[in-house]
Structures are given as C-alpha cells and as structure tokens.
C-alpha cells in the first residue's frame, strides 16, 4: 500500500492542474455544505433561544373563569388564588419548583426626576429569573429570599426600559412615587422576538409588591419533577386547582394551562426544515463537486491508458489497477475534504467577526454537520472513483498498450 501511495502522490504532483481542479471541486462542495449548515444552525439556535420558555418544560398556570356549573355552583365564577394557596403546590412530589407572579400594568414608573417611563411591574420570588431563563447584564444581581423577607425596594429592570430611562445599576427609579434601587438589568434578548414586552418590565420582590398593592397573583410557573410529563403535570395542577376552588376538574377554562408542545413542534420542525433545505443545497453542490472528480478521474484513465497497459505488462493485476485509481480518487477527495473543512471554519470565524444581522444568529459548525458532510463525501468519493477505476482495471493489456494517448 505504501509504495502505491507514494506513486499516487507522485502522479498527483505530476498532473498538478488536474489534481488542483479535482481538489477545488471537493473544497467548494464541502464549504457549501458546512457554511450553509452553519448558517442554518446559527439561525436555529438564535430562534430556539427566543422560544426557550416554550421549549422548556416549565408550565404556566393563569387563573381565569369557570365555564361549567359544578356541584350546585354556577358557571362563570372568577377563579383566583392567594400566594399561600399557590404555595401549597410546593408540597406535591410532581413539582420541582414554583414561582408565583404578581403583575401591575398601570403603575406609574418614573425616573428620579419624575419623567414617565413605559414600564410595568411584576412582583416575583427568587425562582422567577432562573425559571424564566432571563439573562442579566454583568454587575446585576438576582432577587433573593433575603430581599423578599426584608421587603427590599430593589428592582431588576428590562434592558429597553434601562436604555430609555438612561438607567444603570445603582440608579434609582420610582414606582407610584416610591423609590427603588436598580439592582439588575436584563441582557438584551438575542432572539428575533421577545415574549410579552419583557424588555420593559420592572421586577420587584413579591413581598414588596403585596405591600404596595393588595392584589392576588396573576400566574404561576411550575417546573415538574424529573420524569413527569407535561400532560401529567397539567392534569395534576387542574385537579389540585379544582379541589381548592370547587370547580369541575374537566373545566379547562377555569385555569388556563397553556400547552406549547404543538407550537414547539411546529417551530422546531420549521427551523430544522430550513436547516435541512440549506444542508441539501450544500449537498447538491458537493454532488456537483463529486461529478467533477469523477469527470477528472475518467479523463485521467483515458489519458493514462497506455500507462495502465505498461503497468499491466510488467505485472500489475486488474485489482492493483482498481485499487490504484480508487486510492487516487480517495486521496484527491481526502485532501479536498480536509482543506474544505479548514476553510469552512475560517469562513465561519470571519462571518462571526464581521457581525451578521441579529436575526441570523451566529453561524456554528456542528459536529453533526461535519459528520454528515464526511459521510456524503465518502459515498460520493467512492462512486466518483469506482467507475473510472473499474474501467481502468478492465482494460486488456494489449489494447491499453496500443493506445495512442
């Protein structure tokens, strides 16, 4: 095998232009596949982040109104819970974590000089930021249990609100005239969309909220214990709420338990579909590259018919010739693949440094993409080399020797 590889390298150098063209065809194909798939992956990841809450197993529960009469009680009864009523859920084994959320849309949010800011208030516990997967800018701190116990007047505010009010950490703002210290600012959302105007929210400790307003919580967020499916969790929650507030456990309108699994499925399929389309486009280019290699290999066999004749005359078996041409194709494709992968990484690095639009995300070459490109290349390389190699090995020595090329 080694002397054959040496001969192949020698031959490839001897026919530099032909080898270069074949390698270029493969490089072009590999770069197309990897760069397109990297763009697709970046797009997928950025959008998956936008839907992070939808795509996580965190369940929302929003009390609303009964729609069915139950045990002598009429329909259309408003359902509401106090925080301690919600907290009873924490004792259930199916529930890993709970966050109770208060909300005030019409609170007056102003900066310290009295200028109105377009913010709204959420009273939250120490679990909220983590469960909601909110990222905080550096220097920020989370709302802690200590803040809740002490009724602290601190706020974690949305980045947009901070920008509009020119607020930084350590500044103050007023909520209904009461001063709050800005302890944290959310990080600018990376996705194409943000959920529910969160970039303008003012998060304050839930205890401080209830001190200011005598409201009931508007929603809770629940993380199920390991092994508990969304369906089971929703069923558990509904029966808990139904027994607490005396409504029909089949009344799904009493407490809204949104099920995002179908939407998640749809979005994931859509995003993966876009990625697949990009990958397929690249694979087509790679196939054209492989055709180029096959073409060059056929040309090589035709040009070197006499050489094949000489090799057969001095004792090469048809198998030796077959292996030689398969290896030649293999070496060309391997070089092309290695250069293509390296070049793709460089291109992706440059693209990321250039700064692409936010909605496109940061292209990233995944191991799966490299593996897919490699598998496609191996198959195409074998096909591209096999047929020319078979033609070479089937040559009859005397006919090959009489070739005029």
């Amino acid at each position: 095998m080694r002397p054959m590889l040496q001969q192949i390298v020698q031959m490839l150098f001897a026919h530099r232009l032909r080898s270069l063209l074949a390698v270029t065809a493969v490089v072009w194909g590999i770069v197309s596949v990897l760069v397109l798939m990297a763009l697709g992956e970046g797009f997928y990841q950025i959008n998956a982040k936008s839907f992070s809450l939808l795509m996580s197993d965190t369940q929302l529960a929003l009390p609303e109104m009964t729609s069915k009469p139950w045990q002598g009680l009429p329909a259309r009864r408003e359902v509401s819970f106090t925080e301690p009523e919600f907290r009873l859920l924490e004792k259930q084994s199916a529930i890993k974590a709970l966050s109770v959320v208060f909300q005030k849309w019409d609170a007056a949010v102003t900066d310290i000089t009295g200028h109105t800011l377009p913010g709204y208030i959420r009273g939250v516990d120490n679990n909220y930021i983590a469960m909601r997967k909110i990222k905080l800018a550096s220097g920020s701190r989370n709302i802690s249990t200590r803040d809740i116990n002490r009724y602290s007047r601190i706020a974690v505010i949305g980045w947009q609100l901070a920008q509009q009010g020119g607020l930084t950490i350590g500044d103050k703002l007023r909520v209904n005239g009461v001063p709050f210290l800005v302890a944290g600012i959310t990080r600018q959302s990376e996705g194409g969309m943000s959920m529910g105007r969160e970039d303008n929210q003012v998060l304050i400790p839930s205890s401080t909220f209830t001190e200011l307003w005598n409201d009931k919580p508007v929603q809770i967020m629940v993380t199920p214990a390991a092994g508990i499916s969304g369906v089971v969790l929703r069923k558990n929650l509904l029966s808990f709420f139904a027994s607490q507030k005396h409504f029909d456990p089949s009344d799904k309108r009493a407490v809204w338990l949104p099920d995002f699994s179908q939407d998640v499925k749809f979005f994931t399929t859509l995003l993966r579909g876009i990625q697949l389309f990009l990958g397929a486009s690249g694979a087509m280019t790679l196939a054209v590259g492989a055709l180029g290699v096959a073409n060059i290999m056929f040309l090589s066999v035709t040009e070197r018919t006499r050489e094949i004749g000489v090799r057969l005359a001095i004792g090469a078996s048809p198998n030796n010739i077959l292996v030689q041409f398969l290896l030649e194709g293999g070496v060309l494709v391997s070089i092309g693949t290695a250069v293509g992968i390296a070049l793709s990484y460089v291109l992706i690095l440059l693209l990321n440094q250039m700064g692409l639009p936010d909605w496109l995300g940061s292209p990233v070459i995944s191991a799966d993409a490299v593996l897919m490109a490699l598998s496609v290349t191996v198959v195409l390389a074998l096909l591209a080399s096999f047929f020319p190699a078979r033609r070479a090995s089937n040559l009859i020595p005397v006919i090959a020797l009489s070739a005029r090329v």
Partner: protein, 239 residues
Amino acid sequence: MSLVQLKDISKHYQSGDEHVYALDGVTLTIKKGEFLSILGPSGSGKSTLMNVLGCLDKPTAGFYQLDDHDVSSFSSKELAAVRNSKIGFVFQSFNLLEYATALENVMLPLVYAGVNLRKRRAKAAELLERVGLGDRMSHKPNQLSGGQKQRVAIARALVNDPQIILADEPTGALDSKSGAEIEALFSELHHEGRTLIVVTHDISLARRTKRIINIKDGKVVDDEILEPSSTIYHRREGD
C-alpha cells in the same frame, strides 16, 4: 529443455466485415537460453505472436505452455503474475512512466511482486549500473536520450529475473549508434544464458540472433537456426 511450447495457436478477430486471422495455427518450441528473432513484414502477425508469448493477449485457440505451465487456461490475475515473474518486456517506444525517475521505473515491477523498498532500491540500482546508467538513476525519462531510455527499459525488464525477455522492435526508435549499443547489450544478456525473443522487421538485427522465425499471414513460414559460423539450417514447417 523447452521453455515455451506453442501448439496450433490461432488468433482470429472481426475487423468490420472482414474476419482477420492474425495467427493461424502456429506451432513453436523455444528452449531455455535461446536468442531468437521473429521476423516478418507489417501485418504478418509477429506482434500478435509476441503479445500471445508475453501473455498480453489470449489466443482464440491452441495450447501454450510456459515453463511447464498451461498458461492458455490462466485467469487475468494468474497471467499478471506470470508477466511479473517470468517475462520482461522491452518496447519500441520504451513505455517508461514520464513522472517517475529511472530508478523508480526500474523498481516498478518489484512493487507488484511485493518486494520491500530496501531490496527494490538495491536491485534496481544494481541493474541500472549494469546497463551503464549508474549516474542517471534520478533522471526522469525526458532527461534521457533514446538509447538511455531503452537501457532503463531493459533494466526494468531484467529486474524480476524473468525466464524470457521479449523485445518488440527494440532498436526501431533509435539512431544507429544507440541501436548498436542495445544490440550489443542483448548479445551480452544472451551470453549470460538468458532467453531473448526479439520481434523485428529489421533483417540486420535478426541476423545478430541465433535463430530467425519468419512469419507471414499469421503462419510460421521459415525457422532458421544460425550457427556461430553463420551456416544456416532451415527448419521448414512440418520438419
């Protein structure tokens, strides 16, 4: 002791509407150590005979025994092994690999014989020294003269210590001086006891051999034994 035995060897093929009898019932015996030439005009079938003798082509009919083996029934793979170990070819147009050096060209048959690099290099270098090209080993064919190329080809033909050396018009592409050198080299090889078969239409080259087989229309028409004293014995067909 006979090295080659051909019995009623025929090679027929269709060329357009015409049925061509390139070889038509050739029967021939060649002993070990013979130096003979196959002589005939263009289209006489001498090259076809050489191709059959060299296992480059299979006969349509007949029996071919080489070194006690019935090679007429061999597969492509077996024939490749025979060509590698028992036959050395010298072609009119040298047929060297242009991108390989003289040494690499001579080493090539040993690659297919599975010989290791150290031995390949040593044997090829020894043979290039033997043909007077010890100082041209790393030269590529385009850096060599016609005569030098042919000497590289002869070294390549000898590298596996073959039973027969088959030369097809070996001086055909050379000037007279280089041609004479090659003829002298062949005579030396003959004196070393090697079996040489030269296919040619050049009567003067044929005269340097010890036996001349005349071929015409695919048939052996004359088989002359040339003794050292230049006395010629004729062995007509059927003798």
